[in-house]
Amino acid sequence: MELSILTVCYLIGSLTFIIGLKMLSNPATARKGNLIAAAGMTIAIIGTIFLYEENEKKLGNYLWIFGGIIVGGVIGTLAAKKVKMTAMPEMVSLFNGMGGACAALISIVEFNHLYSAIEIPGYDQMPFGTLLIILLGLIIGSISFSGSIIAWGKLNGSVKDFSFNGQHIFNLVILAVVVVLAGLILGGEFGDPQLIFFSILGLSLLYGVFFVMPIGGADMPVVISLLNSFTGVAAACGGFLYDNKVMLTGGILVGAAGILLTVLMCKAMNRSLKNVLIGSFGGARTTGVVAKEQGHYKEISLSDTAVIMSYASKVMIVPGYGLAVAQAQHACHELEKILEGKGVNVKYAIHPVAGRMPGHMNVLLAEADVNYEKLQEMEQANEEFSTTDVVLVLGANDVVNPAAKSDPASPIYGMPILDVELAKNIIVNKRSMKPGYAGIENDLFFRPKTSMLFGDAKKVIQDLIAEIKNL
């Protein structure tokens, strides 16, 4: 009876995951979808704690279980509530790493269990299938863990890009050694299985580090999405291990959706997944296009900017990571309102990968109550630029870099960009002339139609608002 109830719990869990994910892909239902999935998860967890039994034996150690859930729950809630909108992508990466580590730990405990169960050391007695699943969970889980931690460090700036010649070969060698070791342990030959097992753990962690290390700048969202998918697969391994359908459904669902999401993101940048993973960004950024001849750029004063914008009939704002860093979204919304008050038509042009994650800008601007209809996706925006008087680029760089269209040597060549040059005037707000996240010079800044407005995005906008009010 109780086991049948547990089965129903798991069934509900699996269905809510599918429905939740479906609803998450539509703006109108997204929030409800997330809550439904969370409710399903809660049911599955509570069901497991109280109803799960193996060989007619219930689970014990309730104190430990509840202790762990309370500790994790409190820290998780606090961290998730406190985190700034700009740090959201890092947070996702960090939580993803926790999931990977969890899967790896399960594998370690289960392996010890299996190992101590064999009294006579004939390793071929370890059930092949179970061992294979344990190893898969261990390898994928630890790669996902160490990779996510590096991605987290990279996004918050504490880990610098690092690569050396032949790194891809080095990575492949690590991976090959991992596979060979796994083969040895599965075949039940040579040496101490425990030693091999923990070598696999160590090498997988190392692989995760070197896998993410050389991948630079603009590609980080893609990597996080991919690691997210890895953790899904690692969770599914747990499903096989315990013959647990909800873990299997949830894991594979995320694994498959994560891969698709990764591909969608790559498409938005017009690059192949292979290209991203081989990390041409990382290699090219130091040697790439830096040597190019620079022209002269011209600066524009705040009061001139205020005049140009107030008397424009259509203004497009192109937000980028600089806006997020400066927390300028509210000021930006205020600028929009004051310009609208003067009869200017203001819209936002959102590049799919502006910021550090797809959708980053939408989330930020939504926080500042910017009307959904004012946000133009790239295709729409590109149609509108030719009728636009002023484009205000706020802390965006690579997504408006014309080199993506014209310079085949550029690392971002082929990425669709916002064609801001079609507009009559382009005003670029940046903190300095330093190149953007991908480390590439931007010719746009030296074009005759472009003027530079230096300073922190928030301060500049506030001053601009004051100037416009004084007109």
Partner: protein, 106 residues
């Protein structure tokens, strides 16, 4: 060969689930607008936190004198909970903004 075949037979249902879920996963998010990429990734991130069920089972099965299993299991439960709770709360925070904006629009 025999072991592989018998393993497949043993896990027939599970293998069916894997095959079907791959298609469901791809189909279900096939038409997501780029606006929702980040929240969707975050939501999916929370869902794979289902790995916590494995952690609970490991923890609950550990013999009370097996400290290695207890400690590792405890750590796994903490990390798994972080993934689930943190994941859902962060996603909700992202989506909350979408909602408040929707309201002001109506």
């Amino acid at each position: 060969m025999d072991t592989v075949l018998s393993w497949i037979t043993q896990h027939e249902q599970m293998i069916y689930i894997v095959a079907l879920m791959i298609f469901v996963g791809i189909e279900v998010i096939g038409r997501v607008p780029s606006v929702l990429h980040t929240p969707l990734m975050s939501g999916a991130n929370a869902i794979h936190g289902v790995v916590i069920i494995g952690a609970i089972i490991v923890m609950g099965k550990a013999e009370p004198d097996n400290y290695v299993a207890l400690v590792l299991g405890f750590l796994a439960v903490v990390l798994g909970t972080l993934n689930v709770v943190g994941g859902f709360v962060v996603t909700d925070r992202m989506l909350e903004m979408f909602k408040s904006k929707k309201k002001s629009q109506d």
